[in-house]
């Protein structure tokens, strides 16, 4: 092939003769970005390397607040996730914590978390800054998440099974990837099921009994099994005007009925970066937002409030808490989920900074994932204990910054040919990164006298 027009990349990220082999790694074990990018193909960055024990306390708290269990059959409707220590909030692991919790719920639909009591779904939601200042836009965001994360599809797959439209022997073959089997019309046809007429018909009758909007019934029965099809034929055709008028009904009335019919009894929205909504809002929008949250989640006239179906975990920055608080109180929400005034602890999952031990295990989790030889797993080499401790303090105990610093340390080690990375090496890395960060801690002394004395 001579023309560069059809050239394909030959570079692969983990080519075997990478420069990191010297240290016994296939790649740099640590993320170069100090934040989690959900859905990124790079396992270092997408939050899939996750140390369960790191957020043990937060996890327990999360389950206690939001997940119904035999001791406490109803969870909170609204809860918050906040940084424990304000000035070092960024990169403390909120995103990866939330993402991981939603994954945990979705693997077995909450079987383990609720001790087999409930069928739950959990969806991770991330607003775009400034795009969702109105509540209907927030509603749209939640519906988008429900569809994209295959929650709606899962409900449809479950319904297909429950209606008896798919025979038992076919159900037994569904396996671990339902989107390729029960969610795939072609697979079903191969198994002898009429996906053109019979299946949609059965589904339509079943959904029709729920008393939900006819066009939604049609869309769900025809395309509900596939997120892409459903988006193409239903979601993308709803105009903004309709979203504003009908969005609340779709999410809090119709979909709730569908989910309940599909045997779910709880849905948890894990909402990250709520400050992006709050800070872009003006006072009126904030009030509307708080009022609508109350109406649709607590005590309005809709299926969701009657069934106490959805729960909301809001990730707040301290500043948004201050912004939202007056409106929260004015709409009476503080009786259901206190946001301020000292009692918010009852409704809040606090994310704590790293300790020395958890930092070590976190580093090991990342190192292990990149080791060439599995036999070396579980040790902190090429780092030393002092090296890691130094990095932890320099990173203000924030996991994101900590990992980023270790990434730089590995790069520097390759460049300089270090075999171990001790506190001295860490110091060199920090200094090379520029004095800007370390200077920040300077305390304020008196203004220095001027250099020039005009009288001399």
């Amino acid at each position: 092939m001579t023309t560069p027009l059809f050239r394909k990349p030959t570079y692969t990220k983990e080519s075997s003769d990478s420069i990191y082999n010297k240290l016994g790694f296939t790649r740099n074990p640590f993320p170069s970005k100090p934040s989690v990018v959900i859905g990124s193909p790079n396992p270092v960055e997408n939050g899939s390397i996750y140390l369960e024990s790191l957020h043990e306390e937060e996890r327990r708290r999360f389950e206690q607040l939001l997940i119904p269990n035999p001791e406490k059959p109803t969870g909170r409707t609204i809860a918050f996730l906040m940084d424990y220590a304000t000035p070092r909030g960024r990169g403390i692991g909120k995103t990866s914590f939330l993402f991981h919790q939603s994954k945990r719920i979705m693997t077995d639909l909450g079987y383990e978390l609720s001790k087999g009591l409930q069928v739950i779904f959990g969806v991770y939601v991330l607003p775009v800054s400034g795009d969702e200042t109105k509540f209907w836009q927030f509603t749209k965001l939640l519906i988008d998440a429900l569809v994209d994360k295959s929650v709606v599809a899962t409900a449809i797959w479950r319904l297909r099974a429950f209606t008896g439209a798919v025979p038992e022997n076919v159900l037994a073959e569904v396996g671990d990837e339902p989107e390729k089997t029960i969610g795939n019309d072609q697979w079903l046809s191969e198994k002898g099921i009429d996906t053109f007429m019979l299946l949609p018909h059965v589904m339509e009758r079943k959904l029709g009994e729920l008393g939900i909007a006819p066009n939604l019934v049609k869309a769900l029965s025809l395309y509900g099994g596939s997120p892409l099809e459903f988006r193409k034929h239903y979601l993308s055709r709803i105009s903004n005007v309709e979203w504003r008028k009908e969005g609340g009904k779709i999410l809090f009335e119709d979909l709730v009925k569908v989910f309940i019919a599909a045997g779910f009894n709880k849905g948890v929205f894990l909402c990250d970066g709520v400050e992006r909504i709050i800070q872009a809002q003006n006072a009126k929008e904030r009030r509307d937002f708080a009022e609508s949250v109350r109406y649709f989640f607590i005590d309005g006239q809709c299926e969701n409030t009657r069934a106490s179906f959805y729960s909301l975990l809001l990730t707040l920055h301290p500043y948004s808490q201050e912004l939202l608080s007056p409106h929260w109180i004015a709409s009476g929400l503080d009786r259901f989920a206190t946001l301020s005034g000292g009692q918010e602890a009852d409704y809040t999952v606090y994310v704590h900074p790293l300790t020395q031990e958890s930092a070590n295990s976190l580093a090991i989790a990342y190192l292990d994932a990149a080791r060439i030889e599995d036999s070396k797993n579980g040790i902190i080499a090429p780092f030393t204990k002092r090296g890691l401790d130094g990095a932890l303090v320099a990173a203000n105990r924030v996991p994101g910054k900590f990992l980023n610093l270790l990434n730089l340390a590995i790069e520097k080690a390759i460049e300089m040919g270090w075999e171990t990375i001790d506190s001295d090496q860490i110091r060199i890395v920090i200094e090379a990164r520029g004095k800007i960060e370390s200077d920040k801690q300077d305390s304020q002394d008196a203004l220095p006298p001027s250099q020039i004395d005009l009288r001399k």
Binding site: A446, L447, Q451, L454
Partner: protein
Amino acid sequence: MQKNENWPKPSSRMTGLFADLQLFPEALGVALNKDYVTRFDLEEELSRRVHGVTLVERESPRRWSDLIRELRYFGWIKVIDTYHKPTDDARHKITEEGVKVYSLWKKEETEFLRLLTIKMHNQYVIPGWFVQRLWDINPERGGEVVMPNPLREEKFLPRKWDEKAWTEDLKKATRSTYESIESNCPGSFPIEENIWLSQVEDAWKRLSNLRRREVSRPSGNSGKEKEKVKTYAPRGRLAQAMTEASVKLLFGTQPPNIDRDDFLMRKEPISPRLYSAWCPRLEALELIFYTDAHLMIPGRLLFPTSVFRESTPPDFQKINLKNPKGNTLCLYQPTWKSLKENFFETLYKEHHKVSARVGSLYAPLLDVRDEVCRQLRLSANLFDNFLLVAIKESLMPKSRFSISVETDVREDQRMAYRILRRPVWLHGTPYSLIAMTEYRDK
């Protein structure tokens, strides 16, 4: 007390309240092309002005009578109709001296400013006296003086108009300002705490008992009648009370803690209103530097960039103006050659500090400027000139530093009084951000 320790009695106290000194030569320019000018002509021709980073479409009418009067005082224009007592409304004609001054300004702007300094001093005595007073207040720190304001982090809730009591939290705010100044810039406010507290309290009470302002209804809007102001912001009033009190304490007839009358008169040399007019004027004359935005100082930091000395050393420019002791006013005007090293070093150091605070390489230039000027005792004008040269030099192949400036109007420049903060002018463009890095040796 010796007689020669006194400043002469000012021949007038009717200082114009505008800060834009360019108005003088521009007004002369208008007068030059006409048989006569009135204040209405000036209003017509010169109305659109730039203040800080904002354009003012129409100045207040007061400004034009001020301008006419001051030009007459300086002898640069005179009244045509001599049978009348001169008023600001009268028709005026440019004098021979005025023509000379105008051509001087055209040719050599700084020389014009020096001439204006002398003119103003002869008329009002304030320029020289003010510089001397700054040196009297805080000789230890080169005349650094702070005019206090409430701390930036202090929070005040709006109050009903009738709640005018001097409360405990106001007192606390006044005290914490005092303490902050004491620790951050010792000696720059040498007043006893109790005196300070009681003076602010007095000023507060006076301001609280002023007649309530009326808000006129918006023009073209048939609606409600004039409305009375219902609430007020305690921060603003407290700040005003602090300024009133400190002008009285620091710029009274006697320097604080010195038993010496500066004038042979009882009357206060400057009122708070005149004080706020003189600061920008003296700054433009390069006698002093001041900033309201120094992060470590709650209030206005002032310091002189000039000094009274017996002889004029190199790097100083002599102004023909003497204090009662017979010393001459010298402006600190270092040459680029003598200051170069120091300027680069200080600029780099301060840029680094500010950029560490804001967390980005591009740092607010005005904050850097304020601190560099304080360290090196430069006037804002000189800073602009030197920065321009520094940027040019940084482009040379062997330069140690790389400097870049940007013009974006920062968010904090768009708010309240900060739009009036003096920008850094380079080639007629106001700049607001600076980035500076050092080339590291391999």
